[in-house]
């Protein structure tokens, strides 16, 4: 459990909140590059950390992420005309460039310079990989651009999706570092999902449903090791890196692509679950890519034309009690992603952690919360740079390996847990 004060501290990210200030220190995913496919394409509403913004790509291809509402009367610029180097409000024709600077107020003489006095908030948008990244904090303290491996490998080796999750970012993220639910909730999927099945390591998961956890502090966050019995007194280890504030990677299975997540607050009661799949050294096969598009693995299907999952709380996640009974799915909900999301959403928009009853296998979550709390408090107190901003912290991989019984897993896998260009992942 957490006290109400700490629960509020970690879950609230709107402007002016401590955790909101911390998220504003990082480059975070804002939208898929495919959402702004061409110069002068339709603007897109973006809500991040409680701020209402509109993203657009101007006539010269410059990306802009600016305040959604016109400074004149507060109309949404989503209705705007994206043309001739800026976004024009359709109400009285005020026009803004990609930085949010007002560049035309038709009712005033152009020479008066009135428009120069009007400036909307504007954040940068930078395309790296499939994603447009933004930094919503102080321009003077803008950190280096992100170097996560999944978005810096060649494009044929990577695939990214995002889905709307209807709960606070923290309870979604906690699912990403909670290895102890895999043997239960996702047990059906290990058999049937084309992006998981067939890996040699799967048998350890299914033979030993009581993994033992070790949680090890790392400069950028944590390494969470789950060990199961393997042959000859050795252990099968699945190692999940968590990098602050909200990057997680799932341990690999065989030569399947590696995958992971970013959990980004939309507002305090909604978040984006970003999901990626990539292979460090080879292109994704056509079948793999199609499976990802079809919603297998960590991805999902959508309500057409939206980023809302096809299975959502309004249709009970298309729960199938018969499939649950037959054991094809453990909870009756199809797909890894929605198995997690359905349960996390059912916990409420912001779970009340004063009421939970944690056990010692929850120590990964306990440690992560404590790291977040410490980093936020250090930021508030002394402006300390939070972990995860240093590019070295971002160069991590997950690992699946069989190790001798007494080997400390982080030391034994030091190199495997680090991005090594041209070297494939360590996996079983």
């Amino acid at each position: 459990m957490l006290t109400k004060e700490v629960n509020d501290l970690l879950t609230q990210t709107t402007p002016g909140t401590p955790m909101g200030s911390m998220f504003r220190k990082y480059w975070i995913p804002a939208l898929l590059a495919s959402e702004l496919p061409a110069n002068d394409s339709a603007p897109v509403r973006v809500k991040l950390l409680g701020e209402r913004l509109v993203a657009f790509r101007d006539s010269e291809g410059r990306y802009g992420l600016i305040d959604e509402f016109c400074a004149h009367r507060g109309v949404s610029l989503w209705f705007g005309r994206n043309e001739e180097g800026g976004l024009r409000c359709p109400y009285h024709g005020w026009k803004y460039d990609h930085t949010g600077q007002c560049i035309d107020v038709p009712s005033e003489a152009a020479e008066s310079g009135f428009c120069q006095k009007i400036k909307l908030t504007g954040y940068p948008l930078v395309k790296i990989g499939d994603i447009l990244w933004t930094h919503m904090g102080d321009k003077a303290e803008r950190p280096p651009l992100p170097v996560w491996e999944f978005c810096t490998v060649p494009e044929e080796q990577t695939f990214t999706s995002k889905r709307w999750q209807e709960c606070n970012w923290l309870q979604a993220m906690e699912g990403g570092i909670d290895s102890s639910h895999v043997s239960f909730l996702h047990s059906g999927s290990l058999k049937t999902d084309p992006l998981f099945r067939g890996a040699a390591g799967n048998k350890y998961n299914q033979q030993d449903r009581k993994p033992v956890f070790e949680v090890v502090d790392a400069p950028g966050g944590l390494f969470i090791g789950a060990r199961r019995n393997a042959e000859d007194g050795q252990y099968y280890w699945r190692i999940t890196p968590w990098v602050m504030p909200s990057f997680t990677m799932v341990p690999p299975r065989g030569d399947h692509p590696m995958h992971g997540h970013f959990w980004i607050p939309i507002d305090d009661e909604n978040c984006w679950a970003w999901s990626f799949d990539y292979h460090p050294t080879r292109a994704l096969s056509a079948e793999e890519r199609q499976s990802m598009i079809d919603g297998y693995g960590v991805h999902n299907q959508y309500v057409p034309g939206t980023f809302r999952p096809l299975q959502n709380k309004d249709n009970d996640y298309l729960m199938d009690r018969e499939a649950q009974r037959r054991g094809e799915t453990y909870s009756g909900v199809w797909g890894i992603a929605m198995q997690d999301a359905s349960l996390q959403e059912s916990m409420g928009p912001i779970v009340d952690r004063t009421k939970e009853n944690l056990v010692s296998t929850d120590n990964g979550i306990i440690m992560a919360r404590n790291r977040l709390r410490r980093a936020v408090q250090a930021l508030v107190k002394s402006g300390a740079t939070p972990p995860g901003i240093d590019p070295a912290h971002q160069k991590v991989r997950s690992v699946a390996a069989v190790l001798p019984a007494d080997a400390p897993f982080v030391e034994a896998c030091r190199e495997d847990l680090t991005v090594r260009p041209g070297v494939k992942q360590t996996s079983v």
Binding site: V212, V216, K313, N315, L318, E328, P349, S360, I366, P408
Partner: protein, 179 residues
């Protein structure tokens, strides 16, 4: 048997599912969340926190300012008379001696704290006896070093292990576990 021997079947999601009044849509609003768990749904837990070495004992002293009525804070006594291969002499906060067997009776969880491999023998006994008594064990290693030997000591005797250079995880863990 291989996992992929199982025939692959694609479930077909459909749109013809009604939204029931009892649907999750109703179950997850902010308004209704206020009404969840209006009563104590868990009995108090009783925990034993055992400092295995001198560094761990100093750390423990730092956090016990906060009262935790359901927790017993214990240190492995420097002198261990040879009572039994299944017994460890512990020291309470007030300096009184207590036996491991007494302390384990009625305990829900034992948290072992180590900063070195100094407490190897006590750790081995506590882990073995706790497992026999079906008492959950958790280990916290607080050390800035690689700590191979401490991991080797703690891994066989704990059900979950946390390794961190920061002492403040102890308080966070005890609070999170309602210890």
């Amino acid at each position: 048997m291989h996992d992929d021997d199982t025939p692959f079947r694609t479930p077909v999601p459909t749109f013809d599912r009604p939204t029931l009044l009892s649907s999750c849509a109703q179950a997850t609003t902010a308004e209704e969340a206020r009404f969840r768990v209006q009563y104590p749904n868990a009995a108090p837990r009783s925990s034993r926190i055992v400092a295995l070495d001198d560094g761990a004992a100093r750390m423990m002293d730092d956090i016990i300012a906060e009262p935790r009525p359901a927790a017993h804070f214990l240190k492995v006594a420097p002198r261990q008379p040879d009572i039994s291969p299944n017994e460890v002499v512990l020291l309470r906060l007030d300096g009184d001696e207590a036996l491991l067997s007494t302390e384990l009776a009625g305990a829900d969880v034992v948290v072992l704290i180590a900063t070195s491999a100094q407490g190897r023998r006590a750790a081995e006994i506590i882990g073995r006896v706790a497992r026999a008594a079906s008492v959950t064990t958790a280990g916290l290693i607080v050390t800035a070093d690689a700590a191979d030997d401490v991991v080797r000591m703690m891994r066989p005797v704990t059900g979950v292990l946390v390794v961190s250079p920061d002492a403040d995880h102890l308080a966070a863990m005890l609070s999170a576990l309602r210890a």
